[in-house]
Every structure is written in C-alpha cells, then in structure tokens.
Symmetry: C2
Subunit: 261 residues, 2 copies
C-alpha cells in the first residue's frame, strides 16, 4: 500500500480536527499551565478537542498504527506506521487571536517522516507533502509548492517564532545568522516552514522544538525541494534545534555560522 493512499484520510483528520478546534479560536478559554514551575506554556481546550478527534478516527480506521500526540502522549509508538499529532502548533498565536497557528498531522514509516500536513482552519489553508512533492489548497485555489532559489544569506528572508527561544551561546549563534540575513521576521510558528515550501521565506532557525513540532512539516519542506536538519546537520526528527531552508546553499551557510562562523 502506497503511503500516498493516506492523503484522503489525512484530509479527513484535518477537516474533523478543524471543526473541533475552530469554535475555541478567539473565545475566552480555560487555560491550564502544564509547565511545572517553568515558562508559561498554555494548553487549550482546543488542543484537547482536536487531538481527541484525531485519535478517535485513527483508532477506528487503523487500530494497528501508533500515535504520538502533544496532549495525550504516545501509544504503540513502535508500530511500522505512527501518527505524529500537534493539534494546535503555535499556542501563543492562537491565544493572541492570530491565524498563524496550525494543526500538524504527520505519518512516519519505520521512524522516518513519510507524509505531513499543516492545516489552518481559520484561513482554510492546507499545506501537505510526502517528501517527493508538496501541495497547497486554500482560498486562492490549488497549486504545487516549490521552494525558491536563494544563493546567499545576504539575500535571505529569515524567520523564527521568537528570539526568546534561544539562550546563551545559542542566542549568539542565531544572531550571527540574523546579522547576515537580508531581513528577519519573528512570530511565524509552523506557518514559517510552509512559507519555505511556498517560496516566500528562505530560512527558518528555531530551538527547543518537540518532535511533533517538526516531524509533520519535514515531508512538506522536502517535498517542495527544501532542506531541513538539526543545527549540526543531523536528523531533525528528534526536535531541539532545527534549520530549514529552501535552497541548500543558504542552509549550508547558516550551519557554518551557527557552528561558530
């Protein structure tokens, strides 16, 4: 069974989780702080409703598959096929009323990202990919996603969710790249990775990611011709520090500066 056969089911997951999540957007929410004495980390009812909906559908249709989710942990995670779910990626954007959060739905085969989707239910946009191709469906119609060419960092548009996600030497490393880039836009969340796939952003550098923050986005970025690794050029699926670029030349220049110049 080809993995591409799952794309219809992923669209169903997006449709139903979107219906569960959207009523909570721009309403007053009961906020739970799941960080224990750490930084503020909002968990919304929307997160729980969206993930419950997706888990229910996966269990019903594919009971042998594993699930790793942001809200309700892991089950059967050693299965050949495992779903990786982040119902509301960009909880700060969600809480501030900004339509830059997204529902991330990923599928891994033998631990490798095989299919991914970012769904933004408010704008009605879906970015998806399987590592070989990537596709956009939204208000403006449908199209193939292709990252743009960008030869040097000096021409690159850089994005990160917030400079506050970097600490100490890693902040200094980020700032070396920021100084070399043409311009930097903060506050993009999962949207930034999709904008690499769509050819509007050249480079995303982030830190402290969880696997479910990045795994669903990898097949979209790579499907559009982009590159995504950890800060040291390794496997990005574990999260932590991640570097994504539309052009391998910019990716390489960023890794060099992150490593010290």
């Amino acid at each position: 069974m080809s993995l591409i056969d799952f794309s219809g089911f992923v669209n169903d997951l997006a449709t139903h989780s979107g219906k569960a999540i959207l009523p909570f957007f721009r309403t007053t929410l009961a906020i739970h702080d799941k960080a224990h004495g750490g930084a503020f980390d909002p968990v919304t009812e929307a997160d729980r409703a969206g993930e419950s909906t997706m888990r229910h559908l996966i269990r019903r249709h594919f009971p042998s598959h594993g699930i790793v989710g942001e809200e309700f942990g892991s089950e059967n995670e050693d299965a050949e096929l495992v779903w990786v779910l982040d119902p509301v990626d960009g909880t700060r954007a969600f809480m501030a009323g900004l339509p830059l959060w997204g529902t991330l739905i990923g599928l891994t085969r033998a631990g490798k990202p095989a299919f991914g989707m970012m769904h933004q239910p408010f704008t009605g946009e879906r970015f998806s990919g399987d590592g070989r191709a990537a596709r956009y469906v939204g208000p403006g119609g449908e199209r193939t996603l292709r990252a743009r060419s960008c030869a040097t960092l000096a021409e690159a548009t850089l994005s990160a969710t917030s400079p506050r996600m970097f600490e100490g030497e890693r902040l200094a490393a980020f700032e070396r790249v920021e100084k070399a880039a043409r311009l930097t836009r903060f506050g993009c969340d999962c949207y930034a990775y999709c904008m690499i796939a769509a050819g509007h952003v050249d480079l995303v550098i982030e830190d402290g990611l969880k696997p479910y923050d990045i795994v669903p986005l990898i097949p979209i970025i790579e499907g559009a011709g982009g590159v995504v690794t950890s800060w040291d050029g390794g496997d990005p699926t574990k999260g932590g520090g991640v570097v994504a670029a539309g052009d391998p030349r910019v990716h390489e220049q960023a890794l060099t500066l992150l490593a010290g110049g």
Copy 2:
C-alpha cells in the same frame, strides 16, 4: 454631516484597495529599497497600487479633503478632513507570505482621529471604529468589538512586531514590561492593535512608528474601550513610541515601567 456617514465610503476604499493589493500577495515582487543606507525597508508594487486606488477614489468623491499616505506623501494636509493611508502595514509579513499585514484607512477631523479601518483582504476581515464604538466583519460574521478587562500586567498578553524595533534604553524599558507580562507574542503588526479591540491581546508596545501606522487604528482601539498614548502618556498621533492597552490599569502599569519602574 456626521462622520459615521463616511463608513460606506471607507468600505469602498477597502474593497477597491484590496482588489489592487491582493494579486501581489505571495507572488515574486520587484522590491525597491527606499531606505538610504539605512535598515531594509521594502516597498512593494502592492503598496503603490493600493494607495493609488484609494487616492483616486478620494480625489473623485471628496476633492476638498486632504490625504497623507505612506507611499505618495501629503496633499492638502491642512484641510478639516484628512485621510491617512497605509496600504500595506506590515510589509515584512507581506513579504514572508503571512496574512498579518493590513490596509490602514484613517480619517482625521481637525487633526484628531475620527474614523479608522484595518482591512485584511486575504482573510476577508475588517476592523473599524469611530472612537465611540468598534465593529468586526469577517468570515465568522459581524460583531461589536470590546477590549477585555485585565487588572495587572502579570495577567497580560503583550505584543510587539519585533524586539529589534527598540534600541538602547528603550529596549531596556520594553524588557522591563516584557518580564512583568504573562506572555509576549512578537510579529503581529497592525493585527495586534485589532486584537486589543477584539479582547485577545491586552497590551501592545512599539517604537519608531509613523503617524499613518497608528492614526487609523486609534478610533478602533478607543471605540472598543481601549487606551492608546505615546510612551509618556501623551498624544499618540505623531507616531514614535506607542502604548495601547485594553484596560487602563494595564496601560498605567506599563507607562510606569517604561518610565523607569
């Protein structure tokens, strides 16, 4: 003639400027750098097309009115009624493909903000106000905008477009407020002020604004019950450093910390 009579015309300006601007969103643009040896400041064809469209309509319907625009300067700016236009506020968001830029349309009477609208053509959202009331029209329908209550900075969601907009002592002042706030979201542009009006964000602190960046937003913020001043509590219509809050208590606490604690 009551100023509220202009609301239909403002909707026409929004509709026509949106049609002029939107085809340029998420396309490859010819970028001109209008900063002379300064920071990168993109000007897009969209900006020019949007402002030309609005100026044409204003001149045809209200030839005695003044116009102050981001792209094409001022004409007849001593008139009783003056239009203040920023066709694409949030040019970095626009360039990065993010639907957080907006078209700002303001009307001043005798130099005071009297009516304002923020139009986001991609999401189809319009936030407007006349200083006494404010209104939202968007995909989810229409509603009155009301800022939310927030007693203390410790409970407040703070927003700014980028920490890089502050320098030296003014960065230190911003960071005093940031440390006291519950959470901070960077990268919101004009959208952040509308989210104060809508009751999702409590505080926006920015610096280095132009008058057309803030004048059209003042009647929306105040119409929803919010407060907006300069950093020292004075008139915000000249731009520069601006503090907007949904609750006057948070506004006062922010001014105190900005002034040194």
